[in-house]
């Protein structure tokens, strides 16, 4: 049976992280540092050392998950630990700071760490939410399958319009040829539809194929006899094509939302690593 990384090994790392958080909070509350809590008390140094080691270990996951040869533990186990212990880092580092913030390298490191953690938190939510939604959307088919169905629908439509009037052939062919899905980062995430259609020699925007479908329906009202019947078939099949495009666009969008955080999470992690080095070294330069 499939087990999520969240419930790996009976939520072992969840409990480990929870114990870590409770231990840190308890130590923080019990500690009487004789000064405002900060990173320079013995508890501050302890929490800071723990936090720094956690960050290094969490960064190591980026390298560990590329190990296809079986090493110590499973990738899923590592991800599970990464998620829960990464979340606990927020508590460890905040207590290390003693809630003292300012405009300096130390707070920069903290802010970068928060951005990394929050982007990772979003990633967890995305990986729990979007795969199921996408599976339901595509009825357990792959996006390739849907594209083949679209290709099929395109071919079918082209065959159907072969015997129809030239204006119909022109409009439908141009709408098929000028259909656009995906695209740039923003186009994928926002499901921007740059599809076009040529009607009477003029290029029109055709988002969600609405322009061409409404043109076909209007054209149907003046069609007669056999043409009317065939055109009705084209309208019906174009509707099916429109549905396929919606599924494709939604899947591209969901996939983008599911993965986009990684494009922040990883670079920010490296920025954090640099800020962490600067934080530690600068503190001891001006000890």
């Amino acid at each position: 049976m499939h087990t999520s990384f969240l419930s790996h090994a009976g939520g072992r790392y969840f409990w480990l992280a929870l114990v870590l958080i409770i231990a840190c909070c308890t130590a923080y509350l019990l500690d009487e540092p004789h000064q405002a809590p900060n990173g320079g008390t013995w508890l501050g140094y302890t929490l800071g050392t723990m936090g720094a080691l956690l960050i290094l270990w969490l960064l190591y996951l980026g390298r560990r998950k590329r190990n296809f040869i079986q090493g110590w533990g499973t990738v899923r186990g590592w991800v599970s630990a990464h998620v829960y212990l990464g979340g606990s880092l927020l508590v460890v580092a905040t207590l290390h700071s003693g809630f003292q913030f300012g405009i300096n390298i130390h707070t920069l490191a903290y802010v970068l760490m928060c951005l990394v953690i929050f982007s990772g938190g979003y990633g967890v939510w995305a990986y729990v939410t979007y795969p199921a939604a996408r599976n339901e959307l595509k009825r357990s088919q792959t996006l390739d399958d849907i594209f083949m169905q679209l290709e099929d629908a395109d071919g079918q439509l082209k065959r159907e319009i072969g015997s129809l009037a030239a204006d119909i052939r022109g409009v439908v062919t141009s709408a098929i040829e000028r259909t656009e899905v995906g695209g740039s980062l923003w186009a994928q995430l926002a499901a921007v539809d740059h599809s076009k259609v040529i009607i009477d020699g003029v290029v029109h925007a055709n988002p969600d194929q609405v322009k061409v479908v409404s043109w076909l329906v209007q054209r149907l009202t003046i069609a007669e006899g056999a043409e009317s019947k065939k055109l009705a078939g084209v309208v019906r099949d174009y509707g099916a094509r429109q549905k396929l495009l919606r599924v494709i666009r939604a899947d591209i969008r969901f996939n983008g939302l599911q993965e986009v955080w990684l494009y922040l999470h990883v670079p920010l992690s490296f920025g954090l690593l640099a800020a962490l080095i600067a934080h530690i070294v600068s503190v001891f330069i001006y000890w």
Binding site: Q100, I103, H106, L108, L185, A240, P267, A274
Partner: protein, 622 residues
């Protein structure tokens, strides 16, 4: 229904055929391996359509929303006849006449053209967009490392930090972990003033370079260095803290030792254990002055609750009389006095300004001696000066009254000199006190023929003796002072010197400024005190009405340094034992500037302070 299914597949330029037969009512078409007619094309669903025969007629029905085309016509359900050509996703299925025991032959032609996949025309995944993730990671890493660490560190090690600060380049200002305490804010952005050596915690000598007068907590020549509480200044004094406090305020810093001084090898007969102001703190001790037989003042410490405890200031002063609600007689009539008429805190509130005869007593207690000249007073504080003043006064009187008493121009001459003739004054119902000089001389049974010098001396000494006796013994000095007669021809009385305690609780720092919203009587029961010997200092219970320990609930939380200081005034400065010459650069310049200004200020104020005639210092009574 029996079917012969012939598969025709294109293989390069040739075609390959294979066939199978089927017998049943329903033949299924789809991608699935369980299908009667399998078309292994991913565009097709596992189960696409069903071929059935009913009443000898073939029909094809698609499952779900799938479609097919019969002779070019799109459909979901259609009857089929021999010769019809069905198109399913480009693959064709032709219905042919049956042969050799089969009802129909189905020729299935599978297309295997390789055309561009539709999906490949679009960017359908984020990875297709080729976002520069790896590059961004490197840029973020390097920019952060160079900007926040490498450039400032290069400036530090090349001694060019000042250049960095002037240029729009990152400097060490970003390394600050919190704002400087306001007392250190003048140091500005020069970190090297305190952080002299990289990777070495701020050293004591770096602090003491400025704080040269900071003292040890105890006698280090007896007890060793102050490392009972910490080896570094920074152990107690935390800079760059957002709380604004630079001093360790918890009481553990004191009670770690003071809960049991013997346990840390510092047993003291005077110091009792203390751990908390509410729970465990010894009663107050007062420092009392005592005037010894050797005519020296000494201070002795006493428990404030000792029954026979008296202050020996040698001053007579009834607080109750002065604070009477009915008022007290003064030169200007009856006045109601308040404590602040005499007791005014110094600026800052720690000490009281000295009470002086001149400022606080003389307006009522005028040192006049001759009712005929009430404005003439004797000087306070020096009996020989007092006697000299009397002699001068009566010598002048003899001159102006006796020698010229028969001169008709006398009054005019005196008026021209600005001297009024003596008035005759007397209290109603009494004879005039001032007798004529002739009378006095007559009463002295002196030979009337004596020389004028002898006559003058008899007159002057007689009047001086009488006035001095009045002043010392009856009317003036003895009101406030202890007077004893002595065998001294010059001043035959001795005034015991007065000294008021200027610090009752020298081991603590009490601020009247911080208590100005309270009534004086809340702590000092002066209005019922009839003698100056009363100790009007509060006991610890009085303080505990408002002040609690460090973790007090419902009371003012008060720790050790609320009242006590660590760096004791009476100990040697830490500089003498801990300061070592360090090779400073910028910090030295700053310190030199501060020290110069501090020195100039202290010298200036010392030179400008006027001579103090306070009672505390008036030990000079002979």
């Amino acid at each position: 229904m029996r079917l012969l299914i012939k598969y025709i597949e294109s293989r390069g330029i040739g075609k390959e055929t294979h066939q199978s037969t089927y017998e049943g009512d329903v033949a299924t078409i789809g991608r699935g391996t369980d299908q009667t007619i399998q078309i292994a094309d991913r565009r097709l669903p596992l189960s696409h359509s069903r071929l059935t025969v009913a009443a000898g007629k073939l029909s094809l029905a698609a499952t779900g929303d799938y479609r097919f085309a019969v002779n070019g016509e799109s459909s979901r359900r259609a009857p089929l006849a021999v010769g019809d050509k069905v198109n399913i996703s480009g693959h064709s299925l032709k219905v042919c006449e049956g042969e050799a025991g089969v009802d129909y032959v189905l020729e299935v032609e599978l297309v295997a053209e390789t055309v561009e996949k539709l999906r490949d025309r679009f960017q359908t995944r984020l990875r297709d967009v080729s976002l520069p993730t790896r590059g961004l990671a490197w840029v973020l890493f390097l920019v952060t490392l160079v900007g926040t660490l490498l450039i400032p560190a290069a400036g530090l090690y090349s001694d060019q930090m000042a250049t960095l600060r002037e240029l729009p380049l990152p400097d060490d200002g970003q390394w600050i972990s919190g704002e400087l305490h306001q007392n250190h804010a003048f140091l500005g952005d020069d970190c090297s003033g305190c952080h002299v050596k990289p990777f070495v915690a701020t050293r004591n000598e770096d602090c003491l370079a400025c704080h040269q007068t900071i003292n040890h907590h105890f006698d280090t020549s007896v007890h060793g260095v102050d490392n009972q509480v910490g080896e570094r200044c920074g152990d107690c004094h935390q800079e760059h803290s957002t709380t604004g406090s630079i001093i360790r305020t918890d009481q553990a810093v004191c009670t770690d030792c003071h809960q049991d001084l013997a346990a840390v090898g510092m047993q003291s007969e005077e110091l009792q254990p203390a751990t908390d102001f509410s729970a465990n703190h010894p009663g107050f001790k007062v420092s009392l002055l005592k005037y010894g037989f050797d005519e020296q003042w000494r201070t002795a410490r006493h428990e404030i609750f000792e029954d026979d405890l008296v202050e020996e200031s040698n001053l007579k002063f009834p607080h109750d009389l002065h604070l009477s609600e009915d008022g007290i007689d003064s030169a200007a009539g009856t006045v109601r006095m308040v404590c602040a008429d005499c007791h005014v805190p110094e600026k800052g509130g720690l000490q009281m300004q000295p009470v002086t005869m001149q400022d606080h007593c003389a307006s009522c207690h005028q040192l006049g001696f001759d009712p005929r000249s009430p404005e003439r007073v004797v000087p306070h504080g020096s009996p020989p000066d007092l006697m000299r003043t009397l002699r001068e006064y009566y010598a002048l009187q003899y001159l102006t009254e006796e020698l010229n008493k028969n001169d008709p121009q006398r009054d005019q001459t005196l008026a021209a000199l600005g001297t009024e003739p003596q008035r005759e004054v007397r209290r109603p119902g009494r004879v005039a006190r001032a007798e004529s000089i002739t009378d006095i001389i007559a009463a002295s049974q002196m030979d009337p023929g004596a020389s004028m010098g002898v006559r003058a001396q008899v007159f002057i000494e007689g009047r001086v003796a009488e006035a001095a006796a009045n002043l010392f013994e009856k009317q003036t000095c003895t009101i406030c002072h202890e007077i004893t007669a002595v065998a001294d021809t010059e001043v035959p009385w001795k005034v015991l010197p007065v000294r008021l305690s200027d610090s009752w609780f020298p081991k603590s720092e009490f601020s009247h400024a911080g208590h100005k919203n309270m009534q004086c009587e809340s702590c000092h029961e002066a209005s019922t005190s009839a003698v100056a010997a009363d100790i009007l200092m509060p006991r610890i219970d009085g303080c505990r009405e408002c002040h609690g320990g460090e973790k007090a609930q419902g009371l003012l939380a008060s720790n050790c340094i609320t009242c006590h200081v660590f760096h004791a005034d009476d100990q040697a400065p830490m500089t003498s034992t801990m300061h070592s010459a360090a090779n400073h650069s910028t910090g030295d310049l700053i310190r030199a500037a501060i020290n110069a200004s501090v020195m100039a200020g202290s010298l200036g104020s010392a030179a400008a302070s006027p001579a103090n005639d306070s009672m505390q210092q008036s030990q000079g009574h002979p």
